[in-house]
């Protein structure tokens, strides 16, 4: 028997706008990501100084998760993220620092972010989540794999809730779509509703 799960809440960050459950929380005409995310951080009154040390992918993920987990009490929450570019934005920075023998200056603080799952580690630290993290790379948002994998984790009781979705940062473009899957919630957890929310929010 397959239990049915629900989408409890969802958050989208793209093109200068942050929304939660369809409601706009922050908008900015700022076109450059680092300025945009910094002004969002201030306007949304997130108080977490580690934020400023993070790479762009982690900043994007942290703010999106913050919108969904601020009032969340369930700590047994797995993280299942996906994107297209992996950690390529930071990979390029590290590569730049080692390309020429004359300007060779690799930095541990950059290198550690050359893994996409680091952004899930940042969220786990911020929210005290001792749970499973999995990061998948696909050329486009793939609701079906997220759906199957999330159902598996919940069905095996590896987690009570799952925070999942898409966190992509590449060449200055950003797109975050995170949602919480739980036993109860607004939308039935299905491939159709995941795709619908991703395409319309």
């Amino acid at each position: 028997m397959t239990a049915s799960y629900h989408i409890e809440s969802h958050c989208r960050i793209t093109e200068g706008r942050i929304s939660k459950d369809g409601k706009s929380l922050f908008e900015s005409a700022e076109t450059e990501f680092s300025a945009f995310i910094k002004s969002a951080y201030k306007a949304l009154e997130i108080n977490y100084s580690k934020f400023f040390k993070m790479d762009s992918l982690s900043k994007l993920a942290l703010v999106a998760a913050e919108m969904l987990l601020l009032d969340e009490h369930e700590k047994n929450m797995a993280l299942v993220f996906s994107n297209k570019a992996g950690s390529l934005d930071t990979d390029r920075k590290h590569q730049h620092s080692i390309q020429d023998p004359d300007g060779y200056y690799p930095s541990p603080a950059v290198f550690v972010y050359t893994l996409p799952n680091i952004c899930m580690g940042e969220i786990s630290i911020r929210h005290g989540l001792f749970s499973e993290n999995s990061f998948f790379i696909c050329n486009r948002f793939r609701a079906d794999d997220l759906f199957d994998y999330t159902n598996s984790l919940l069905g095996m009781q590896k987690a009570e809730k799952v925070l999942c979705g898409w966190i992509d940062f590449d060449l200055g473009k950003y797109d975050a779509f995170l949602y919480v899957v739980a036993k109860n919630g607004t939308f039935i957890h299905s491939k159709e509703s995941i795709n619908h929310l991703y395409q319309t929010q």
Partner: protein, 383 residues
């Protein structure tokens, strides 16, 4: 739920181009680590294990490639070709492909690479492998730091249980590159001598390179003689630090507990442990604490890093495959490089390769981002 097995497998490494080459040498306590001077990857000598380039190109040529492949694609394709062939399976809609890697084709970002920089996108790596073999479905790519290889086995099992696939080919690989070595060197973690996991005179880590693959299947008729059942698996974050392990071994301890609960086994049922053992002070110490908290301090334990180095996104898979062979050979493999305990908690580190009846082993891995994974495997006895 039906059982899920690990079956046919291939390790392409410095030892040779099949699992037997690696297992035979490891049984004889032969390391494949070598001191290499190659300024194109690091300005100082580095101790590493790399696949022979000429032999790799010859092996690819035999597969009749239709386009140029990157070094990592070559490693994955050569490994997977053997595993697919051994399985005899046709790649229909019930067969999935899962790739485990941390950095994929990261070497193409180098200005000297003949390949376009777009090849660094990990899904492109997936497409190249998928297309070469003609898999029905798009490849799934898992990139979850150094737990990727073990976690990929768990992911394959879960997709099988969800009914998406009956069989999943898992293939894992990462390269020894300037990108990786410069980063670990910046952490001052690299050693120019063979690594010594858990030893008090440890010298740091070695990075190695393999392309390795396994068939994960629910079909008990699709088994190799060294097959194992995946009894339970779990992955837990430390929620502590992105580049340093927890001082209490929290995530690893929780992973082991959750995997044991799912497997329905306790500490006394674990015949041996194939641990992560990178030979850094922080990692080894964290593991000793976690294993003691889990009451596993008496279980014979090894790290295989002294044989092939840390193979990053492939390490969990290649070490699981060696563990499968260890069970079926009823042999505890020596933890190469270990002489005297250099962690604060007791561990039963395997000093010498020894014959012993074995049925069950625990595989663990830990990585950047605070991730940890544990999986428990049981030998399939011949039917």
């Amino acid at each position: 739920m039906s059982e899920v097995y690990l079956s046919h497998n291939t390790i392409v490494s410095n030892y040779g181009f099949d699992s037997l080459a690696a297992v035979t040498n490891i049984m004889q306590e032969q390391s494949s680590l070598q001191l290499i001077e190659d300024p194109s990857i690091l300005s100082k000598p580095v101790c590493t294990s790399r696949v022979n380039t000429e032999q790799l190109q010859e092996a690819v040529a035999l597969l009749d490639p239709r386009e140029p492949y990157t070094r990592l694609e070559q490693l994955l394709i050569v490994s997977l070709a053997k595993t697919i062939q051994a399985s005899g399976l046709s790649l229909n809609e019930r067969v999935g492909l899962l790739i485990s890697t941390t950095k994929g084709n990261i070497d193409v970002l180098d200005a000297k690479s003949p390949f376009p920089k777009e090849r660094a996108y990990l899904h492109t790596l997936g497409e190249k492998v998928k297309t070469f073999f003609g898999f029905h479905h798009e490849a799934m790519v898992l990139s979850n730091a150094c737990v990727s290889g073990v976690l990929a086995i768990a992911v394959a099992k879960r997709f099988i249980h969800q009914g998406k696939y009956d069989h999943v080919f898992v293939v894992a690989g990462d390269l020894v590159t300037k990108f990786i070595l410069s980063g670990f060197n910046a952490f001052q973690a690299l050693s120019d001598a063979p690594c010594k996991p858990y030893d008090k005179n440890r010298v740091g880590i070695n990075i190695g390179e393999v392309g390795t693959s396994v068939l994960v299947t629910k079909d008990s008729h699709a088994l190799a003689k060294e097959s194992v059942v995946l009894l339970g698996e779990a992955s837990c974050n430390d929620a502590n630090h992105i580049s340093g392990p927890s001082r209490t071994g929290e995530g690893l301890f929780r992973s082991i507990g959750s995997a044991m609960k799912q497997a329905g086994v306790s500490a006394v049922d674990i015949d041996c442990i194939s641990a992560h053992g990178t030979a850094t002070v922080f990692n080894d110490e964290m593991e000793s604490i976690a294993f003691n908290r889990a009451h596993l301090q008496d279980a014979p334990i090894n790290s295989l890093k002294g044989y092939i180095g840390h193979t990053l996104g492939a390490s969990g898979l290649v070490e699981t495959i060696v563990g499968m062979h260890s069970l079926h050979q009823n042999t505890l493999f020596c933890s190469k490089g270990f002489e005297a305990l250099g962690v604060s908690q007791p561990l039963n580190v395997i000093h010498k390769t020894t014959q012993k009846p074995l049925n069950t082993f625990l595989k663990t891995a830990s990585g950047f981002g605070g991730c940890n994974t544990a999986a428990i495997f049981k030998k399939v006895t011949s039917q």
